[in-house]
């Protein structure tokens, strides 16, 4: 009749102590929830592959679905030294990626907040910069816009392009200032990217907040 023990469900052996990675923000309950979700997605295997994300109906709606899934396997996000894409990720990696979406805490000081923000923006940056060269070029940017608009069959490729080009010009003007007619803007580097986001507090927008799921008395 199943396990007779009444202990806490364990994080699988073989993954390094998870708490060191996430320092503070994710409680053990949340880890349990995420672990259960991981098992659901991986169908009880130890690792997840790209195909496992196909089983999420809600995700099908998302125009940048490909980029989001890609982000899970991007070695830069997984904080690994090498570059490129991983084939499969384990629970520890899954948590690493989820940690980019932790909500801010009340007790964070300026320096922590700043680091926090940079981490999240770096994550976004990687999403745009698909060839991993540290710059978002016009072509890469066009790719993203096309994906965002991919659902609408009436919108032509030309329109998507012009939106992308227009936005790129804006970005250039913010980052480099006035450009001469012959100057070529190579691409948005991470520093430029940071500049663009000044004034918008993404920390409060880019997070997934867990509900408090402590056990409570439920007497009739």
């Amino acid at each position: 009749w199943g396990q007779a023990q009444m202990g806490v469900p364990r994080v699988p052996r073989g993954s390094a102590p998870v708490t060191s990675l996430l320092s503070l923000a994710v409680t053990s309950e949340q880890i349990e929830h995420l672990h259960r979700r991981f098992k659901q997605l991986s169908q009880d295997q130890l690792t997840i592959r790209k195909e496992n994300f196909d089983s999420i109906p809600d995700l099908e709606f998302n125009p940048i679905r490909g980029k989001i899934v890609h982000a899970f396997f991007d070695k830069r996000n997984l904080r690994q030294e090498s570059d490129g894409l991983a084939d499969e990720i384990n629970f520890e990696d899954f948590l690493t990626i989820m940690s980019y979406f932790r909500p801010i805490e009340m007790n964070m000081d300026e320096e922590q907040l700043d680091r926090f923000r940079k981490e999240k923006l770096k994550f976004l940056f990687h999403m745009y910069d698909s060839d991993h060269d540290g710059k978002i070029t016009l072509q890469e940017y066009r790719n993203v816009v096309e994906e965002l608009l991919s659902g609408n069959p009436h919108l032509e490729k030309e329109s998507a392009r012009s939106i992308a080009d227009g936005a790129m010009m804006e970005a250039a003007s913010i980052c480099v200032g006035q450009m001469g007619p012959d100057q070529v803007y190579e691409g948005i580097t991470f520093e430029d990217f940071l500049k663009m986001w000044q004034g918008i507090d993404i920390e409060t927008k880019m997070h997934v907040r867990f509900l408090n799921v402590d056990t409570i008395a439920h007497c009739y």
Binding site: I56, E60, L149, N152, L155, T215
Partner: protein, 436 residues
């Protein structure tokens, strides 16, 4: 020799006890109050266990009453897409737009609305069954002892009892309906068939230790109507037939189920379809229409979701049932998961292990609401009517409505659905005058 005689005597005593305490009251439709006493003891025990769990937990508890139908573990920001993007608006709008979709994507990955409907509802407090012990930690020796006693009671006492009751119930159903089936058609036959069906249903409900509360009995389905209900498990049919007689609709099965089907159809006009006939939608609709048109026939019982959902939400109703015409009598069924999980997760358990789990739970407690009858309006099509009925059922049962198809248990999202969402977003961009 003596052993055999002793066993025989024991068996006879057992049977006599069951006859007196269960079968006779079932036939007469009265209750001896045994179930009520059992439930009272059970509730007291679970309350005690809950309090132990609370005092045992080290951290301070927030007295946030989480409603049993609150769904999900993450807080979702329900701001509509347009508003949220407007908030982030700057000259370089695409960069900020990616936020919205990024976050939505992550929310979906952490938890999606649909997949969680196909697994059992999580409990707020442990109900002393091992199978629900996911979140709860070891608290005290006393609790463990109570749990062990619970296991012994459930497996060594309740399980054999329920099993014998179920066996008796099914056997009497088959025998009873076969006997009644021999009679010539007429009011006597109908009356006897009702008696047999009701008695056997009641025995089966007792076999599950079922406690059912029926609300608004004045709206009970009448003859010549169609009864629709939300679907959680194969037991739903028994829950409903406990209080009235219905004509079942379904596919012909083999094995024990097939025997029951063949026997019951002789006594009462149930509608059983061959596998080949089910594929032909027009044939199905025609036969059901004929049945409904005959006002002397019992109301049909249909579960329009098409598959078992975990009783926290109602998924899309298939429109076929709503094209037949006639009066629809909606019924909402809500199980109380504290005493036993009635949801059949067909991808995880087969029918036998499911029944075993049901019979080793504490009890099946549920509420049944009969809703006022509904008829399709002039300007409504079948789909709109189906949605209207679904809303009524969801509202009454405290369930959420999802626009999803129960078929998602096994298949992927239809492409037409996907395009809708993406069209919305690009329409919005174009409207903002960003093009050209």
């Amino acid at each position: 020799m003596e052993v055999v005689w002793a066993v025989g005597q024991l068996g006879a005593v057992w049977l006599a006890v069951l006859l007196g305490l269960v079968m006779l009251p079932s036939a007469l439709g009265v209750s001896l109050g045994i179930s009520e006493a059992y439930m009272w003891v059970l509730v007291k025990t679970l309350e005690w266990a809950t309090i132990r769990l609370q005092t045992g937990a080290k951290k301070p508890q927030l007295q946030m009453p989480r409603t049993p139908t609150a769904n999900g573990i993450i807080e979702r920001d329900e701001t509509p897409m347009e508003k949220e993007i407007a908030l982030l608006h700057r000259a370089d709008f695409e960069f900020s737009h990616i936020f919205y979709f990024c976050r939505k994507g992550f929310e979906a990955i952490v938890e999606d609305e649909v997949t969680q409907r196909f697994s059992s509802e999580e409990l707020l407090s442990w109900n002393l069954l091992t199978r629900t012990n996911v979140n709860f930690h070891y608290i005290s020796l006393r609790l463990t002892v109570v749990w062990v006693i619970g296991v012994i009671v459930r497996y060594c006492f309740l399980l054999p009892l329920r099993f014998s009751l179920a066996a008796i119930g099914i056997t009497s159903m088959i025998v009873g309906t076969t006997v009644v089936g021999q009679l010539p058609n007429g009011s006597v036959k109908n009356y006897l068939s009702e008696v047999v069906h009701l008695t056997c249903s009641r025995i089966l409900v007792r076999a599950l230790s079922g406690t059912i509360h029926y609300h608004n009995k004045e709206n009970r389905p009448q003859k010549g109507g169609i009864c629709v209900a939300n679907h959680t498990s194969p037991i739903d049919a028994i829950i409903l037939t406990n209080d009235g007689c219905y004509a079942m609709v379904g596919q012909v099965h083999g094995g024990l189920m097939g025997v029951i089907q063949r026997a019951t159809v002789k006594a009462c006009p149930h509608v059983w379809f061959e596998r080949s006939e089910i594929k032909d939608r027009h044939l199905v609709t025609k036969r059901l229409r004929e049945h409904v048109a005959d006002k002397s026939k019992l109301p049909i019982l249909i579960f329009p979701e098409g598959t078992c959902i975990n009783n926290t939400s109602v998924m899309m109703f298939k429109k076929g049932s709503f094209e037949i015409g006639g009066t629809i009598y909606p019924v909402a069924i809500k199980y109380d998961p504290q005493f036993g999980d009635a949801f059949w997760n067909s991808s995880k358990y087969n029918i036998v292990s499911y029944l075993l789990r049901i019979m080793t739970s504490w009890a099946i407690v549920c509420n049944v609401w009969y809703l006022p009858p509904m008829v399709r309006k002039e300007d409504e099509d079948a789909v709109q009517f189906a949605n209207r009925v679904r809303s009524a059922i969801a509202r009454q049962g405290g369930l959420t409505e999802l626009p999803w198809d129960g078929g998602l248990k096994r298949a992927k999202v239809k492409d037409t659905f996907k395009e809708e969402q993406q069209k919305n977003y690009s329409k919005m961009l174009v409207r903002n005058g960003s093009v050209g």
